[in-house]
Each structure stands twice: as C-alpha cells, then as structure tokens.
Symmetry: C2
Subunit: 389 residues, 2 copies
DNA sequence: TTGTACGCGTTATCAG
DNA sequence: CTGATAACGCGTACAA
C-alpha cells in the first residue's frame, strides 16, 4: 500500500482502506473519522495553474480574486436580487477591469438557448436575398436575437452541410430558403426531430411540414401576364427556372391561367426552363428569336434574367419594349437601373424576411409547433420595358 | 438517523456514519465494506429520466442502449483505431438510427475550437461586400472552416454588439470591415486580449494592431484621375465618403497627387464629403452644377454613388460623358448595367476576401500572431461614362 | 446573503 | 481494446 496521508491531519498510520467507490480506492482516517480518495493532482496545484491558463477571464478567476464562490459571481453579474449591493459592485468592478466576457458556449450548453437565429440563403449575387436578410435582422434585433447567415451558394451539398452545422445546437431556430438544385429534403426531415423550429421562406417545399412563407407567385404571374396582354402582346415567351421548383410551377400556372382567360393558346415552344445562368438565358432567347412566328414579349420569372434578356436584346439591336416587351419578377435594384427600366412584380422581399422571422420567433418563444403558411402580398410595378408605343 | 440502506446489499442494520465529505454525510456498510453518500435521486431514477429527456440523441443515450461506456462510443464515432470493428459498426449503426448529431457547443467547450470564422460587414445593399464574402467562403471551405456572417448595417452600435457576440467563443477568428461611422476602436482593443485573431479588411483602421488587407486606394485614385485628365477633363469634382475614414483620405491623396503632377490647382469647392446616401449625393451634385466655373467630370469613390450620379445627371438631361464624365471606384455589378456603362477601378473584391481569409486561417492554424499588411492589386476599367467624344 | 454540488454533452488522460 | 474520471465554464436547486 502506497504511503497515504490524511488530507486533514496528515497522519499516515491512522489510514485504512475503506472499500472502492467508482473504481477508485477509498481511504478512511480513523483519527479524523474522514473518508477520502486520492486525486492525481492536489487541489492546491490545480488552483494555481488555473488562473493564468487561458487568456479569457472566467467566473472562476473573478471568484478567486475576490475570495467568493463562482455562483455568487454569476449571480452578481446577472444582477440577482439576493446578492448584496456591496458584493455586486465589487464583482462588477473587477469583471470590468478584467474585461470579463461570458463564454457563450458554456452558457448555451446549460441554458439550451443561444438567442441566435440561423439563416440559410442560396446566394448574395444580387440584392434579392440580402434584402430579405434585412427584414429578418430587423425583426430579430427587436426581439433581442442575433442572426447568423450561411450562403449555400446554390449548392445542395453546401445547403445540407450548413443545415447540419447550424442545427448542432448553434441556433434556436432556422430560416431556410432552398437552392435551385435542392430536390431531396431528408436533411430537413432529420433535423425536424430535434425540436428546433424551422421556417422555409420564398423557395419552399411541401414535402416537409415546416411553416412556410410564400410570395404571391401565381397571382403575380397573372398580373404580369395580363398586363402584357393589355399592352397588346400576343405571343408572350415565358422564362422559367428549373422544372421541379415550386416557384416555376406556380408562376407558370398563373401565366397559363391568364392565357386561357384571354382565349390564347399555350405554345410549348414559348416556354423555357433555365438555371438562370447567362448562357442558358441567351440560348433560350436565341431559340425564340429564331421562331417563324415571332414573339413580342418575354416574361422572365427572375429579374436577374430579365435584365440579362434586355441587355442581350439591346446588343442585338432589338428594340425593347417596341419589338419585344420584357417583364421580370421580384423587383430587384438592377431593374431600376437598366434602360429601359424593368416592369416587374414586387414580391416585397423585406416583408418576406420580416414575416418569416416573426413566425420563427413566435415558435421559439411560445414553443409553438403548429404549421403556418403565410403569403406576403406583392405589387405590380409597371415601368418602361413593357410600354410599347 | 433516517433509515438508510446499503446500495449494494440493501441491508439497513449494517450501516454506520463515516464522517462528512464535502459537506455531505457519508455512510459505510460494514457488511459490504462500501462507502457511499445519499443522493437526492437514486441513480436508477436518473438514468431512466435521462434517456427521453431531450429530443437530441447524446453519446450517453447510445452508450446506455448498447451497454458500453461513453468514451467508447465517442471513439467509435471518431473511427479511433483502438476500437474493435465490431463495436464500431454497432455504434455507428445505432447512431444512424437515432440520427445522432454531436452537440457542437459541448465539443467546442472542450476542444476550444469551433472551426468557424466570423465575418462582420457593413451592409449587403449592393453586391460589393457580398462578393468579398464569396472570396472568404471559398477559401474557408477549402480549409474546412464554416463562415458566419453578421451585418452591422452601417451602425456602430451593431458592429460593437456583433463583435462581442461572435468573439464570445463562437468563432476561431474574425474578419472585420468597419462601418462608415466607426470612429472608436475600444471594442476591438478589448477583444484582442483574448487571443482570438482578427483581420481587418477593406475599411481598416490603424489604431488597432491587427493584420489588414487593403485595396489600392491611392493608386486606384491616381489611375482614375489621370485617365479623366487624359480624356480632356479640366475640372474634376471629387465625391468622397466621411472625412475620418481611411478610404476617403487615401483616395483623396491619390487624386491630389495627380492634380499636382498635371499642374492643376486644387479647388476645395470641387471636393465633397457624403455618407453615400442618395440625398447627400444629389445635394453635392447640385452644388457643383451651380458653380460659375462648370465642372466637366465627377469622380466618386463609390460605384454606388457614381451610379446615382449618372441617374441624376440623366434626369437633368445632362449628357454623360460629353458634358460631364463620371467615374466610380470599386467595380460593382450595377456599373455594367447603367447606361452609359461606368468607368471604374476594379478593387478585386473577391481577391480581397480571399486574402483576408487566407491570412486569418494562417493565424489560426499556425498560432501566428504577427501583424501583416497586404494590398490587393486592382485594375482600371475604362467604359463609356468617361469617353468624351 | 452566500456557498455546495451537480449537470449540460463532449473530449482527453489515465489505467487497466 | 475499453472504461472511469476529470475537465471545459456556466446556471441553479438546495442547503446553510
């Protein structure tokens, strides 16, 4: 038996083994009537090495410096009513001097709340999604929540990785706008079991039962189409995004509905699906320009592509709007800058962000697990790109 | 004495007190030679309530389900070579079934690393900063780091709050681009003591000794100014940002240097400071238009404002570039869309982001605390807004 | 009014 | 190959 001395009286001869607790030998000092186990380091050594270990001040550091317990420091810093004002001021003063900053990780580990919302958006190439962000941040800040943003870069893999990363206890709730390529939703389904609320916005999917915020996809497409017809357009080409995504489908539906209403026949040749890349847009337009029965309007369901269309037509010396009218969808900043200015449907991006954040916060704060669908009202914006003379 | 029974043999009569450990009464069972204390809940109850407590699967849950220890589970999941392939597969299978996701908070608390970079940018109103983000994300992703973004919204208070929030152990390093209004830097100085590396980019300050990434502010301004002079401009108005910020000062310096070089006199009336808001820009232009000695060029140190200038001049039926040439700085997307297209200095936003991220990662990975200044090379881009006929 | 003890979910260090 | 245990830094019943 190793030479063991009693931590209280330091005697050696009075020690006897007293069974094993949790695989550790317990000792008993007959003299002091004291049970103890041997630690690898003595407490004294520990407390020494602790202080200067990290560059970050901890509650421990403050507690030791003043000579009080950690919990008192914690409470003092939180302005707990039980703590005497004397200790409070002492603690707060020292905390300031040491520029104490709580370890958010440790806090969240205990409280199970980070006061942070996660947002995943496809891209920041245009100001389209970033203005949604503004709406989100505005609402979140009011409620005392932080916002962290991840860009999925229109890559499904990145979206999945971001969802995972954020949901691993970094955030209290997730706002999600899918990539154009997202076609499986298992990454969401898995996460939904964890009880962290999720809200899909703008580009949403029906497979997963989260709350959702839409814009007026169908209604907007109807208004745009009707407007073009009112301005005398007879052959309106439709530039859609990928077939699978909700947005393409709903806006196409609105377009077709209005064609039917005006007794115009649907021509499959006039409908193109693109990934919104410049190359595909140009290809689609070229195909239309080559048709024997010429088109007199192009309705793009994305402002970004509508701008590209205008630029391309201008390059080809085709008059917009007189030969071909152009309309977009979304109301992006660039639509105001291009010449002619772009007729479009304002989906109210800021409002979409606001609504999404509101719903999410409600879920978080009230532990509301209901599923809500909200549609944000938009507005037709007529500019010169569709005003044939 | 309350009725205490031995946890091992359940006998009561064999129990005797055996001193107090950490303020808790210890008991000793003579029969089993076993020391123990009374917990408020029995272990059995605890382990029961543990399992279904949270919606999130923990290592504990897996360990208990299989009947092995937490550490083994942890190692199995990390593919530690010590673990038998049998247990590995068992663990991994169960982990999958329970859709186990590690708690990133707890992980980081132990490892002191989040594998996350924080970025704070002033705004996302234009694509200027978001393209820097792309550069950052690209480099970060390659190194296996995540990126979280906070928008300071050009508000000093929000910047300070964001810095604090992120630095509280959420990130391994910070990339920072100040707001236009940031004029105190204590919030940075405090954080620098914590040993988390910080890199300032684009809008940087000299007061704080972090590494910095610049664009060619002075050189770019020189090139633009000289280009305007070469095109025949004699009275070049200069639209600057706030006086205090580095960028304004350095670009002004470049402008003045070229004036001097060309033996042109500096006219204080031709230099305006704005906050880049539409209102202030218009006001400045109006003032210039009212001068008795008319101007023939406007050099804005921000593309955003340059676009606003062009739009305003067009509205006033003033020909750009023939009456007044316009040049910007930055090379934003909108400069390609406006008509006439904007002459500008491409600061290579993507490269700035890449360089900043590279430096930061180097600091993190090699614990490099040196201070580096890097200037990213840019390029003059001549378009029609400055091509007088 | 303050301190003790415990737990949050991990990883790391020993000790078998 | 596996398990026990001690951190990580904090919040909080409970005890005193």
């Amino acid at each position: 038996m190793p030479r063991v001395s009693c931590p209280k009286c330091n005697k050696v001869e009075t020690i006897q083994k007293s069974g094993i607790v949790r695989n550790k030998q317990r000792f008993y000092c007959k003299d002091c009537n004291y049970n103890f186990t041997i630690h690898h380091e003595s407490n004294k050594q520990k407390s020494k090495s602790k202080i200067s270990n990290s560059l970050q001040t901890s509650l421990q550091d403050i507690a030791k410096a003043i000579g009080i317990s950690v919990s008192t420091v914690s409470r003092a810093l939180h302005n707990h009513p039980d703590i005497s004002s004397k200790t409070k001021t002492a603690v707060q003063k020292l905390a300031n001097e040491l520029s104490y900053q709580p370890n958010a990780l440790a806090q969240s580990l205990v409280t199970k709340s980070t006061h942070t919302l996660g947002v995943i958006i496809p891209n920041l190439e245009t100001t389209f999604f970033s203005s949604m962000l503004s709406g989100i941040q505005h609402v979140a800040a009011k409620a005392g929540y932080r916002v962290v943003i991840c860009q999925s870069d229109e890559s499904h893999r990145t979206e999945v990785a971001n969802v995972q990363a954020l949901m691993n206890n970094m955030i209290d709730g997730l706002l999600l706008c899918h990539t154009l390529k997202t076609d499986t939703y298992d990454h969401i389904k898995i996460q939904m079991k964890r009880g962290i609320p999720i809200v899909q916005f703008y580009r949403v999917n029906n497979e997963v039962a989260t709350s959702r915020v839409f814009c007026e996809d169908e209604k907007g497409a109807e208004l745009i189409t009707q407007h073009l017809i009112d301005k005398g357009c007879k052959r309106i080409a439709l530039l859609l995004g990928p077939k699978e995504i909700n947005i393409s489908q709903k806006r196409k539906k609105g377009y077709l509905k209005i064609l039917a209403k005006n007794k115009m026949v649907e021509d499959p040749e006039l409908i193109a699906h693109v990934d919104f890349s410049q190359a595909e847009v140009v290809k689609a337009v070229d195909k239309w320009l080559a048709l024997s029965k010429p088109i007199d309007a192009i309705f793009s369901i994305s402002d970004k592509s509508a701008v590209q269309v205008i630029q391309y037509l201008k390059k080809k010396k085709i008059s917009v709007p007189n030969t071909i009218s152009v309309a977009g969808f979304g109301n992006e900043y660039t639509g105001e800058i291009i010449e002619p200015q772009l007729t479009t449907f304002d989906v109210k991006t800021v409002n979409i962000g606001e609504e999404a954040a509101k719903i999410l916060l409600e879920k978080i704060i009230n532990q509301d697990t209901s599923v809500k669908d909200i549609t944000v009202k938009g507005k037709l914006i007529v500019r010169s790109s569709s005003m044939k003379k």
